[in-house]
């Protein structure tokens, strides 16, 4: 067997093992996240956004369901009061991101930066799963902090 063929075999085998193992290990890079690197067709989902001021107004009136897509460790430092932690890296591509009882509620998805692409992807997925009132927090968590709106620390309650 030629050396080049062996190198090619090793390359392919390690890629297959790598992709496979990452589907099962904690904090592994799952296939849906890997596929984000590939060119994708424009999504037809029409996403709506919400300003931090509007979101704060809603929070005062019984509140929408806030979804924080940042890593858990960042979420535990501070987050919007009552928010649920659904880290993008762990949950994107999963079925049943939220309990179906929340389908009629307003769901506000946020990452740290304004116009966060990962927040958009997760919001798209929620909309596809039937959460039709899904919104993206326009200025992200950064905008929320800038405006001095209240924060909460610690873990979230179970979804």
């Amino acid at each position: 067997m030629s050396t080049l063929f062996r190198i090619a075999v090793l390359g392919c085998v390690s890629l297959i093992i790598g992709v496979g193992v990452n589907q099962f290990i904690h904090q592994g890079i799952r296939i849906p996240i890997l596929l984000l690197a590939l060119p994708r067709t424009e999504n037809t989902v029409d996403l709506k956004s919400i300003s931090v001021h509007e979101a704060y107004g809603l929070l005062l009136n019984n509140g929408p369901c806030f979804i924080d897509i940042r890593p858990k460790i960042e979420f535990e430092i501070d987050h919007i009061p009552g928010a649920l932690s659904i880290p993008f890296n762990q949950h994107y591509g999963q079925a049943n991101l939220l309990e179906t009882g929340k389908k009629d509620e307003i769901v506000v998805v946020y990452g740290f930066e304004p116009s966060n692409q990962e927040a958009e992807l997760l919001a798209e997925q929620l909309t596809e799963q039937g959460f039709n009132q899904t919104r993206i927090l326009q200025d992200g968590f950064a905008g929320w902090i800038e405006n001095g709106y209240p924060l909460e620390t610690g873990k979230d309650t179970e979804r």
Binding site: R6, I7, L10, G11, S14, L15, G18, I25, L34, L38
Partner: protein, 144 residues
Amino acid sequence: MKWQNFLYYGLRFGFGILLIFSSWHKIRSPFEFAEAIENYRILGEGLSRWVAVWVPYLEILTGFLLILGIWIDAAVLINALFMLVFLILVGQAYFRNLDIQCGCYAFDEDSRIRLTKLLENLFLLCSGMGLIRLTFHKEIKVTR
């Protein structure tokens, strides 16, 4: 010669252990490794994730092949290729003054890119080339 044999096995086992050791933290924290790759500002976020999924397993596989002596020709070439790629990555980061973690053996402050890291990679590349020479020299002798 005896010293050549000693050097050959020393390099093989040395690189084998090094590759297995360096792949371990990358396998355990693939997202951190992807971020470390992205910090070199050569690959985008998406491609970095593919590399983070692929490279640690190629490293560990190569490491085991070097130790076990299976497909040794391919293993020493992949090993040297790794060292070359690492040197290029570290070198360009050093000369672009990127204050980033190397991501080679751990994701901590101590692994930041300095001149010593560049020299370390240069030394590893030279050793890897030496291992190729010793391996193919040995194979030619056996074939004859």
